[in-house]
């Protein structure tokens, strides 16, 4: 188990280490959400143990960034170093996309557009059970291309699921280009406001600001909440920032050393 304090730079470093060792991509997407996960797992999520039925739930709906989630779960002490080092190995539960069979993962994801519906059901279930637990779900901006996201958005607003928080990782990048060139997502906040959600825009790389925003919500009554988190794809590694190829490519040896230097010196 890890004795290292949970931090965004720790999540980034582990993401780079594991992605390099496993020779896999999706690094840019994972770096994009490192600060959001540090905010959630560093204090916002109320989870004493990952099997407590009354814990807050978290769904990484943009499942392709799971490397960053495994890093956070490791830093919380729920995934051992040995387990962590099986990332993408034969027979591992730590795949490119997360599986709920792994301790600490509440729901399996990987197919975009499923997470918000499941989160809405989990939030409704908590309300029916008169539990104060909350449900957090992290979506990508391009994931909002999926119609099911808006089905769930309408349902959650209609039922005033105040114990539900969606965070949109607004990094402006999707699999084949910038969101501006594929399907425009400008005025993302306005869209959620129109759908009846309490909507806040924030710097998705500012842990203090994200923590403040998430602490300001009324989880007991009223509309569901969404944080439109402005982020930079590949954040923390200069040559990866806003560069589409880091949705796909593994790092070379020299790229890895530079990335690790930048991430650890920023810590």
């Amino acid at each position: 188990m890890s004795s290292e304090a949970l931090s965004a730079s720790g999540i980034r470093r582990i993401t780079l280490e594991q992605s390099k060792r496993a020779r896999v991509g999706h690094i840019g997407s994972a770096l994009s959400i490192a600060d959001i996960l540090a905010t959630l797992y560093g204090g916002v999520l109320k989870v004493e143990t990952p099997d407590d039925p009354d814990r807050d739930r978290f769904i990484l709906s943009k499942g392709h960034a799971a490397a960053a989630l495994y890093a956070a779960l490791h830093l919380r002490g729920w995934v051992s170093s040995t387990e962590l080092s099986t990332f993408c190995a034969d027979g591992s539960l730590l795949n490119v996309h997360p599986e709920h069979a792994l301790t600490g993962v509440d729901f399996s994801t990987g197919s975009l557009g499923h997470g918000l519906s499941i989160a809405a059901g989990a939030a409704l279930g908590a309300r029916l059970a008169r539990s104060t637990r909350r449900v957090f779900v992290l979506l990508s901006d391009a994931e909002c291309n999926e119609g099911s996201v808006w089905e769930a958005a309408m349902f959650a607003a209609h039922h005033e699921l105040a114990n539900l928080v969606a965070i949109i990782d607004l990094n402006g990048q999707q699999a084949l280009g910038a969101t501006d060139s594929v399907i425009r997502v400008e005025s993302m906040a306005d869209r959620w406001i129109e759908f009846g959600w309490e909507t806040v825009e924030a710097d998705g790389h500012d842990v203090a600001e994200m923590t403040r925003v998430l602490s300001s919500f009324d989880y007991g009554a009223g509309a569901p909440h969404v944080v439109v988190a402005r982020t930079i794809f590949g954040r923390g590694v200069s040559y990866m920032e806003r560069q589409l190829k880091w949705h796909y490519l593994p790092m070379s040896e020299s790229e890895y050393r530079q990335a690790l230097d930048e991430v650890t010196s920023a810590a």
Partner: protein
């Protein structure tokens, strides 16, 4: 079967508060007994079947047993990936209720004919698939399966009047029901079209041909050993289904014959043509696709004729 379904659900709902009922905005003149009895455990999620299954997944993880309800095509095919990645992958007790399989929504047209739902659902090892043939069997099947730990697809008919003679509400998971015994030929069928098969067997008996009729309501797990035992006694079997011939009961019987080396010739009666836009009553469509009682009699006579 629809009324029997909702009555049984109310009965189960009285016993277990974990049961919830969700609809995709369908069920007028059918679901009212539940809505009136348990308004706090009823959710109309609107016309959004994918979301309905996603919500049910979250509810089931929270300890509830959600039943989600729509017309069979919309309940099974539209949210199929949500079913696969939700309750099946997470092994959660979501119950998907598809109403009106086959041609039960006859004149509503092609979009409302569930002709592949059983085939699609049967591909999933983690999903129990149940297709009762009449109201009594619906009641028994629900009472015996509602609290299974994993997900279930129930394909429920609309017809509450027809009773399949000899079935007597029999249902055991993983078993088949033999509703008639005869030595010349065996029919294997599933769902409300079993009524046509039962009538065809009567008409054949009048012509001196004695048939065994097997009703399969437990589609997954399939009644493998029952089928092996029964088919081993015959040289000819006819499968009958209001479904495409590929993927459903005909395919199931073909798999059993091939995998167990049973020397039994198979004739699969079901839908073989793609849609051409023409619809009509269930009776008309049964005739068009050779699964009405008269066509089944002809098929049996032809199959038994010496070559």
């Amino acid at each position: 079967m629809r009324a029997a379904f909702i009555e049984t659900l109310v009965e189960l709902g009285e016993r277990d508060r974990r049961i919830l009922f969700l609809t995709g905005d369908l069920g007028f003149m059918a679901i009212e007994p539940w809505v009136n009895r348990f308004p706090d455990r009823f959710f109309n999620v609107g016309v959004a079947e994918q979301n309905m299954v996603g919500i049910a997944t979250g509810l089931a993880e929270a300890g509830y047993i959600p039943f989600v309800y729509s017309i069979a095509t919309f309940a099974s095919l539209r949210p199929f990936e949500f079913i696969r990645n939700g309750p099946i992958l997470h092994r959660l007790p979501v119950r998907i209720v598809g109403v009106g399989g086959g041609f039960e929504y006859g004149s509503a047209g092609t979009t409302h004919h569930a002709l592949e739902d059983l085939g699609v659902m049967r591909t999933q090892p983690g999903l129990t698939v149940i297709a009762p043939a009449d109201s009594q069997q619906t009641r028994t099947a629900m009472r015996r399966t509602w609290d299974l730990p994993g997900p279930i697809y129930y394909r429920i008919g609309k017809d509450d009047r027809t009773t399949i003679r000899g079935l007597n509400g029999d249902f055991v998971l993983g078993r088949a029901s033999v509703i008639r015994r005869g030595k010349d030929l065996v029919f294997v069928t599933s769902g409300s079209v079993a009524a046509e098969v039962a009538e065809a067997a009567e008409l054949l008996a009048a012509r001196g041909i004695q048939c065994t009729v097997i009703v399969v309501a437990s589609v997954n797990p399939a009644p493998i050993s029952d089928l092996v035992d029964e088919l081993s006694r015959f040289s000819r079997v006819i499968t009958v289904e209001a479904h495409y011939v590929n993927g459903g009961i005909g395919s199931m019987v073909a798999e059993v014959i091939a995998e167990h080396g049973i020397p039994c010739r198979l004739e699969r009666c079901g839908v073989r043509r793609g849609p051409d836009g023409r619809a009509g009553s269930q009776r008309y469509l049964y005739q068009q696709h050779g699964i009405d009682r008269a066509s089944l009699v002809e098929t049996a006579v032809t199959m038994l004729a010496p070559v």
